[in-house]
Symmetry: C2
Subunit: 763 residues, 2 copies
């Protein structure tokens, strides 16, 4: 950054850092969660101030959203659904251009992830049984807060309503300075408030419906899922799925079997999901119906290495760590290898300048910096240069601490909710900013994909979730964020969800969703086993006797103990609806058994793409205005995702051009290229402008030279540069095919064929 700019930013950075330190202190002192939350919220607000300032100081972006939206609507990329009936908020129809662009993005996604990584794929029901979403936690927790107009029933999202009310108050002259400060403070705290706190504010300020002035109801939770009653009786409740992931989890057993029982493997699903937003807004960014593309990568919880990590190790990425956010620092560019593996010990000894020490500090403070071997004396010296003991949470996960004394090598410690030994955690490797190799691998692959389809690398970063943003089950989570005119928006999430989902569905369904992992050495375990009187059971349950016997054999030690106790105390026990008596189970016995495997619930790494958000960012990033004519707007989409690959334009609608136009268009179509023939009247320049608008990367014109000269030649034009060459008509199809597939670059075409200079005018 420009030093002058840095000077302007310095106080804002300091404000962040101060607040970050307060948060750290509170956490270390074990302060109540509500206090931590409040301060984290303040931290977020300071971060936002900082980012807004950075954006406002950046070189002016000439992006004009109104202009882009005009083009999007005019050429039917997408439009609000059911427009002829007045439309409906939060839902969009994709026209030919939008639809093809999305399809091409997904086809590329398929190649990049599913085929290249040899993933499995499923396509599961969108109508989902309530029991599934109860287990996943969505029925209980997937909610926003709202209030209703008591007369009209109109609903308002609670935080939006309060903010709007406060903003109105701030804009009023009569509001006193003191009131202003109070209000500003409350706005700051809004995101972290409980429903009760917000409700109290609504009442305290006597807020009314902003539309009618009517009274408002008490605040209530509103579940964001759309309920559905399946079948005619209305007894079977379900929901439209709020994400695609659950379909993969509930099929885990079959997928594991399909993969011949081996880990790791990944499974992908692309499809619609639904959220009944209280107030949809920001165009495609917050909608009720949307397409997701999700991957669930299942791996051994004790081995999150990735065998193709080396192939992406040197990928440079812009990472915005939780720590940097807390310190008011900017995102930093580093390779994914550095981010996952840490600085590496050898370099430690070389650190000497304060800057280098600062860099080390940056890494050390970010969660789990685990050294791969005993630190040398030089390293200790360096650490001492930080003039402070390493923060507690760091120390706990580090061999450093071991070196400095105070805990033994084999002691098990609580590392982000998973109890693992130091040995397991390090696995002979060093740890860094990103929790593990598999997570890092996917982050790099996500970035490669986004850049391939045309996302601007300068407007892409990966932001780590702060502790209180992360779902309670996740160990680490990074969002790929794209910078748009709405600010930085989350487009792809990449989370280590640990064993959460499979555990939940194991509990919910009673079916064990786990793998059997061979033990290095077999071990003896004690079983507590019911010894039934088969005769008595047969007599009591007849044809069900077999099922009862099987249920008895499958009892866990715990349940067997419970049954024994119940039979002793009450004489009865209910097993899956069968009433058992002591006469049927006269005794229990303990048995030693040698086991060779242990059951382990796999961890899940989940890259999750919001396709609509990537799509929208891509449109903003590729929107262009011609320098010489600000009415000529277009999308500079890479050929690989451009909806139509090539246009064919006869110079005029003279009959003599028709055979050439038709033959060429057919030959291009034969190669499965989507072609647009534009034989409308209008100058060539005007028609090129029309094809540019819909991002067609290559254009061919059939003119008099085509007809009159042998070999017949045409002009071939590239959209972004508007350069043209003169090329034999028979060479066009394969040349365009190669360009569209990214097999050759435009420069190779201009090198090979003579330039064609023509004035391009739309007049």
């Amino acid at each position: 950054m420009d030093p002058q700019v840095e000077q302007q930013l310095a106080p804002l950075r300091a404000r962040c850092k101060d607040q970050g330190d307060i948060v750290r202190q509170l956490k270390e002192s074990g302060a109540p969660e509500v206090d931590v939350k409040r301060e984290v919220q303040e931290l977020k607000n300071r971060k936002k101030e900082l980012e807004d300032m950075i954006l406002s100081l950046s070189p002016t972006d000439t992006f004009d959203r109104a202009k882009m939206n005009d083009l999007i609507k005019r050429r039917f990329f997408y439009d609000i659904s059911f427009a002829i009936y007045g439309g409906i908020t939060g839902q969009y129809d994709f026209g030919p251009m939008g639809c093809d662009l999305v399809d091409n993005m997904l086809a590329e996604w398929q190649k990049h992830f599913v085929i290249q990584e040899r993933m499995l794929k499923v396509n599961c029901s969108i109508l989902t049984s309530e029991v599934v979403l109860k287990a996943s936690g969505h029925v209980d927790k997937f909610a926003d807060y709202m209030v209703k107009d008591v007369k009209t029933g109109e609903c308002f999202r609670l935080d939006h309503l309060i903010k709007q009310h406060f903003e109105k108050k701030l804009s009023e002259k009569k509001t006193s300075q003191e009131e202003r400060e109070t209000i500003n403070r409350k706005i700051t705290l809004l995101d972290g408030m409980t429903m009760e706190e917000m409700d109290r504010i609504v009442k305290q300020y006597d807020m009314k419906s902003p539309l009618t002035g009517n009274d408002l109801s008490d605040a209530m939770e509103f579940n964001l899922m759309f309920p559905i009653y399946i079948g005619p009786s209305g007894n079977l409740k379900g929901y439209l799925r709020p994400e695609t992931a659950q379909g993969i989890f509930v099929n885990f057993k079959r997928l594991l079997e399909y993969n011949q029982g081996k880990l790791p493997f990944a499974c992908a699903q692309v499809g619609n999901a639904y959220r009944n937003e209280i107030s949809p807004r920001s165009g495609l960014l917050r909608v009720r119906e949307f397409t997701m593309a999700e991957i669930e990568h299942f791996c051994d919880p004790d081995d999150k290495t990735h065998n193709k990590f080396d192939q992406v190790a040197n990928t440079e990425m812009m990472l915005y760590s939780a720590c940097a956010q807390m310190d008011g620092e900017s995102p930093r560019k580093m390779t994914i290898s550095e981010a996952v593996r840490g600085l590496g010990l050898p370099s430690l000894g070389l650190l000497s300048t304060p800057m280098e020490v600062g860099a080390l500090d940056f890494f050390l403070r970010d969660r789990s910096y685990i050294l791969g071997h005993e630190p040398s004396q030089a390293d200790v010296t360096v650490y001492k240069a930080l003039e402070q003991p390493p923060p507690k949470h760091l120390v706990h996960a580090s061999r450093w601490y071991h070196h400095l004394g105070s805990f033994t090598h084999n002691e098990r410690l609580d590392f982000r909710g998973e109890r693992s030994s130091i040995e397991q955690l390090t696995g002979g490797r060093q740890k860094g900013l990103v929790a593990n190799e598999t997570l890092g691998y996917y982050m790099a692959r996500i970035q490669q994909y986004l850049l391939k389809i045309g996302i601007n690398p300068k407007k892409l970063r990966f932001r780590q979730h702060l502790n209180n943003e992360m779902a309670h089950y996740a160990c680490d989570c990074w969002d790929a964020e794209c910078l748009t005119s709405y600010g930085w928006i989350e487009c792809v999430g990449c989370a280590d969800r640990s064993a959460y989902d499979l555990s939940q569905h194991t509990k919910g369904s009673g079916v064990k969703l786990c793998i059997e992992r061979p033990l290095k050495e077999p071990k003896m375990v004690e079983s507590f086993i019911a010894v039934p009187d088969k005769g008595a059971i047969g007599k009591a349950f007849k044809k069900d006797a077999k099922a009862v016997q099987e249920a008895l054999a499958a009892l866990s030690n715990e349940d067997a103990e419970k049954m024994d106790k119940a039979l002793t105390e009450t004489g009865e026990y209910d097993l899956n609806g069968y009433k058992l008596t002591r006469a049927m189970i006269p005794s229990f016995k303990r048995e030693q058994k040698k086991v060779h495997v242990e059951e382990v619930i796999p961890s899940v790494i989940e890259p999750s793409f919001g396709i609509g958000r990537v799509f929208y960012s891509l449109l903003e990033h590729s929107f262009r205005v011609r320098e010489d004519d600000d009415k000529r707007t277009f999308f500079s989409l890479p050929a690989v995702v451009a909806p139509i690959k090539v246009s064919v334009l006869p110079l005029s609608n003279k009959q003599e051009f028709v055979p050439f136009t038709t033959k060429l268009a057919d030959a291009l179509t034969e190669l499965n290229l989507l072609v647009r023939v534009d034989d409308s009247t209008g100058s060539i320049g005007r028609r090129y402008a029309r094809t540019d608008e819909i991002a067609i990367p290559f254009g061919v014109t059939v003119d008099f030279d085509t007809v009159n000269n042998v070999p017949h030649t045409v002009t071939l034009r590239e959209r972004d540069s508007t350069e043209q060459v003169r090329i034999p008509i028979d060479d066009v199809p394969l040349t365009v095919k190669k360009l569209a597939d990214g097999k050759i670059q435009w420069k190779e075409v201009t090198d090979k064929w003579p330039r064609f200079i023509a004035q391009e005018t739309t007049k």
Copy 2:
């Protein structure tokens, strides 16, 4: 057909024909619709008898559904949704194999239709506003009948319940012969019954809930759409769409604009649709959530020719016309050109044998055989050979009749609900079995597609809807039906829906969904126009005055007349909620205006694919059992749709094979081929059997010769023939790519490379 078989079928054919004649007579005599319906139902039942007999007399099909279902479940092609939670009827999850197969089918569909025909494409909301589905007729008409168990609320589809009850009665010994006959007659009539008729039967036979024996409720209609309440207030009602077509219709204006205002054009949409079936059954054939691929082809209602018809003209198709169904005849093979254009006059003169005369009769009786020019004396002779006057409905649509006297050239007649002149109907062409070229073109393209993906041509036919099956708005409709173990099932519909949909949405939305067609010569039209007193209107409606003025200017002649009358008679008129008085509209005037265009609502030809049904038929058609080992089952899917294109199998898990396996698999993946590496233990034969099961068409084995010999060679095997060749490893990727893309055939491989003979054993 075998003459002996024909002999057995003859009485059944005669029964159909007798009944067909009764239906014809009733229609001609203008009998009440309910009577016609009843007899048509009887006709259908006789047709069914005939078909069942034909099936039972056909050479035995060895297909074993249980065996196929075992394979489908074992290798996770698809399975019931949420199986670990007990599953849910009528919904399925597609596993890796099913998902890839569907995706490949759709990718081929995309190439075959969207790219090759340069169609537009849209992707519209699944959550659909009620107002849209009111206009389309679904809210009022999309229902089945049911009854409820009055105590448990369990629902039963009314016709299923009655049929089940009757079948039980028939199976009881005590049922008398007389009762049996009555019941059989009622079963026969069931399909055509009204709800009231069925309800009467339930009460007459005192039917109870088959599950609990409880009483049943009165019969009720049950709308098959899933209702959805959009937004938190619950005020905005919608439904999950029951078909994808409506999304295209409501976007017609934008699509027409996108196509620069020109007809014809086609728009495709692929996506989910939902029907809340009362009792889903027959696996994938009747489900609640399903994928459709629909095309709406918009064309001028007076020009349904297709400019690519000649390219498909000679496609031979198995057509089962409405007439053949009424006459108890079998489907007939003919070219689509014959079907659309009719026999053509020149051949008429050549007819002499009874069979040829019969063939002519077949065409003539099928709806509208319209000759392109005056028939010759020879033609008249031929017609006389039929020894009967042409049936009335035929004569009405034919110049024949004109030739024979009795109506004038310009007389307008009612032709399938569209009033057209003979001139318009013939358009210089002859008409045949299929209503028009565009419909015929799509039927041929549908067949090409189905055969390309692997549907068995011997198990495919196109069946024309009988008059009372057809939606009331359709002019002609043909279903592509596939023969499966469930009988002939409808997989693709292809209908001429005329102007119905666009008219309905024009009415519903008030937005004109039509084209402006230039008139050959401009014409004068008279308008009847309201002459308002602007001052009075301004005073009365203030800011709404403009809207009122606009509404007045947009009045149709008819409405203006009505208003004039109302103002004269009552002094008031309500215009869109504004109360107008005579003082505001003191007078009306008549004006002559020259117009150059007319507004025309396009016709729609709709091919509509039920993807799940095509998918299921494809599985049945490609299921195979190895002759030498009936445990070795597999799917013989064409490479173009096979989920995985190639397997790579090292002979054993010896380390020395790994580099070859990895390099080869990577090279294949690089070409975007989905590869399966199976390095599990087990003989090669067993592993081939596993890859056959999931339809992998090509397999490569890395063995000791690969490692030891230079150049390194591997074996390449084809699934269906199990033939193998020995081929240099470096030649494998491109060879397999070409095979997978259908660019070369297996024979070219066996011609080029030496055969490799190996015993294939799974033991």
